[in-house]
Symmetry: C2
Subunit: 211 residues, 2 copies
DNA sequence: CGGCATCCGTGACGATACTG
DNA sequence: CAGTATCGTCACGGATGCCG
């Protein structure tokens, strides 16, 4: 187990760091915001984490009420880890880190891993203030992911194409994600500047195109 | 030095954690948001941090552009550490952590240290949306601190009584800070419920009383 | 005395190997 | 597939010492 090492400070930020301040914990949350994942998937999308540390973090997070472990029904019966509501409430923390870190991101280094859904945080920021709800499919050079806008529960985003009919499909590049993440443009501004291509007919698509 | 241990992920949140994810770093930022501090003051308000780790973090943070080291003019010539603009931009990260951690704070434990200015984060949240700017002095059982509302530069809050004439003086207790930090009430609501006593005559005081 | 640097014991971490 | 076991290394916490 772990955070036996508490900061022992009567301060809400310090208490939060007692729970999620350990190495890898917040990145595991970032992965699980994409929906339920198996151990092996987590290990594959967190290059560098060792198997024992990953197992230990998942135990701690379950103990602390951030995640639950569930057995998938056969066929393909396996355990999946998913965030509790409490765990999903860490989204603003990751958003704040992402906004701040966007300035330090720069160009991709040779040693950097990339996954398409890691761009969901900046795209979500670009979608702030959008009134309509819906399922958005996003296409980047680096791959595809999807985002649930205005969802009250369930995953916030996910890897791969949208599961089912998407309300909007967006095509953009990583640089535009950076612009959105730094807040220099909202998504509707980026559409207006031609940096994002919008495909779709519903209210959400209309709002993004005309908003 | 340190973060030689990068996550090596092309993701803004991971990059942020490369810079501020080490143990103690964000708590040092929390301390420095209270204005320039000497090494010894930092060590005193961060119980548990070892001297070498504190020195190492301060070096890393200076190298990474989060802090600067400045020599105070005599008398009392000493080095003080203070946040750069880039470092102050971490306030939203600490706010998000504080909001999330507020639910886990509970009652004070016997082993918990307390400092009055650690309550500045929840009070700042309560002040969100306040239009007027000014210097606010806050009195708690645990001590006194002050907050600059709407300041563009300089420290965000500070320990002890306000340096100079405060525009407002607030008296409240730690429980009310928790309510503000969780966002259950805004400061004006808390005033209306009689949980905060407001003293002062300027625009800021009027807004808090009458808002 | 404030501001670190050094030394040391413990535990967290990362890589690999192995098992139900 | 989902971890556990083992092991070397490094980061951390505590104490002490040095130097202006």
């Amino acid at each position: 187990m772990s955070p036996r090492r508490s900061y022992d400070q009567y301060c809400s930020a310090a208490r939060a760091l007692d729970l999620v301040g350990d190495r890898w914990t917040l990145l595991i949350v970032r992965e699980l915001l994409a929906g339920p994942r198996r151990y092996t998937d987590l290990h594959a999308d967190l290059p560098g984490v060792s198997t024992d540390v990953l197992a230990s973090r998942l135990k701690d997070m379950e103990r602390d009420g951030l995640t639950t472990r569930r057995r998938l029904p056969p066929p393909g019966a396996a355990y999946v880890y998913e965030l509790t509501l409490r765990g999903r409430e860490l989204l603003p923390v990751l958003q704040a880190l992402g906004v701040w870190g966007e300035s330090a991101l720069g160009a991709r280094r040779a040693t950097d891993a990339v996954r398409a859904h890691w761009f969901a945080l900046p795209v979500l920021r670009g979608l702030e203030g959008v009134g309509s709800a819906g399922l958005v499919e996003v296409r980047l050079e680096e791959g595809e992911f999807h985002v649930w806008v205005g969802a009250e529960e369930g995953p916030v985003y996910g890897d791969g194409p949208a599961p089912g009919e998407a309300d909007v499909r967006l095509t953009l590049d990583a640089g535009t994600c950076g612009v959105l993440g730094r807040g220099e443009l909202g998504l509707r501004d980026a559409v207006r500047e031609g940096r994002v291509v919008v495909v779709g007919e519903g209210a959400l698509a209309k709002e993004l195109r005309e908003g």
